[in-house]
Symmetry: C2
Subunit: 219 residues, 2 copies
């Protein structure tokens, strides 16, 4: 499968490329394609040192969206609308689009969930994409730094939401291939807001309790 | 310490009495005090069979609130306002009040978080209590059935919120005495909504994935 990542030079893009580019083709996009090429080269080198042949390249955000069978939007929420506005909507047609986006603000040193009027980043992003897109939220709650550390076991629960059952299953199958992630069906997109809000909660808890890179496991 | 529990015949009251009435005096309240007395007797018998001397009694909700040094409000959200309206506010004066309340509705077989206009049950309950009360949210996310099963190890994270740091520390110390619960400081009351919303999320996930009595552990 080809996975295009918009904002692919961030932690999620880098982590996905490190962890699944032996099984899938990863196309990292960036508004600065030179930076994406550099990121892809770094990742391939890291993998090569371990004898792994990573299938990964860097390009523009539009090219990444166009090339991917699945497209991940790995951007801070406030950058999503302007970035998508610069990409031909046909690049997304009929595709599964993954949002790991968590809108939050910092207030008095504490992180608050700050969803748009639609109720969640997911519901807002759905409106920005062609109707034929199957939007899925996933990978929202995994501490960013751990993602990109290949030796770090990710034994967390990935709560996946979507209004398209088949798309949800495909993304759960992808998550299942990554470290020890435990994907679970968390329901329709109307549940995405709760999943997104877990990230500011865990960041605050890490901060208040001197814990590090906290994530969630359900049992 | 004396812990009064409003709605004490529910899972949380029963569970707390089973798990800490060897260390604290537990006063179970109910709108039907005979039912609370029956509950307390059942709990004491269960403990006695294991050689544990439980300090636990049943009474009215008002008496439980009056007797407790700490008071737990263990009611469905829609019952909180009418129940508190029937209790003399002086019973709560200067006390720590614990809310494990999660407002939710069921829609098409799925549970949605349904907070009041204040943003969370906690912020609404704060307004119903005397100003001298120190409101703390805790024990929101533990699957009800597991609470009341004494042999069930509770190895979960308890996200505690309050605007009163000392009260928060006292409730965290109480949680620390219960099974293997891991209390964490989750911030001020403005964060309570996220913690409350975790419960409908975990109920849905349990339901959708054929898991049982799901709760949350952060690591």
């Amino acid at each position: 499968m080809k996975i295009g990542i918009i904002g692919g030079t961030g932690d999620i893009g880098e982590g996905l490329a490190l962890r699944v580019s032996d099984k899938h083709e990863i196309i990292l996009g960036s508004r600065d394609p030179a930076k994406a090429v550099e990121s892809a080269d770094k990742i391939k080198n890291t993998l090569k040192e371990r004898g792994i042949d990573g299938n990964c390249r860097g390009t523009t955000n539009e090219d990444a969206a166009k090339a991917g069978d699945m497209v991940v939007i790995s951007l801070p929420f406030q950058h999503v609308a302007p970035t998508l506005a610069g990409i031909n909507p046909d690049c997304f047609k009929d595709k599964i689009v993954i949002s790991p986006v968590n809108p939050m603000v910092r207030k008095n040193g504490c992180f608050l969930y700050c969803p748009p009027d639609e109720g969640s980043a997911a519901l807002a992003i759905k409106k920005m994409l062609p109707e034929s897109c199957k939007l899925v939220t996933a990978f929202n709650n995994i501490a960013a730094r751990k993602w990109s550390m290949l030796d770090c076991v990710l034994d967390y629960t990935v709560a996946v939401t979507s209004d398209d059952t088949d798309a949800k299953m495909q993304v759960m199958a992808l998550a299942q291939q990554i470290s020890k992630l435990q994907p679970v069906d968390a329901g329709g997109l109307e549940l995405a807001g709760i999943v997104e809000s877990l990230t500011p909660l865990t960041i605050n808890i890490a901060q208040n309790n001197k814990l590090k890179d906290l994530s969630i496991y359900m049992r």
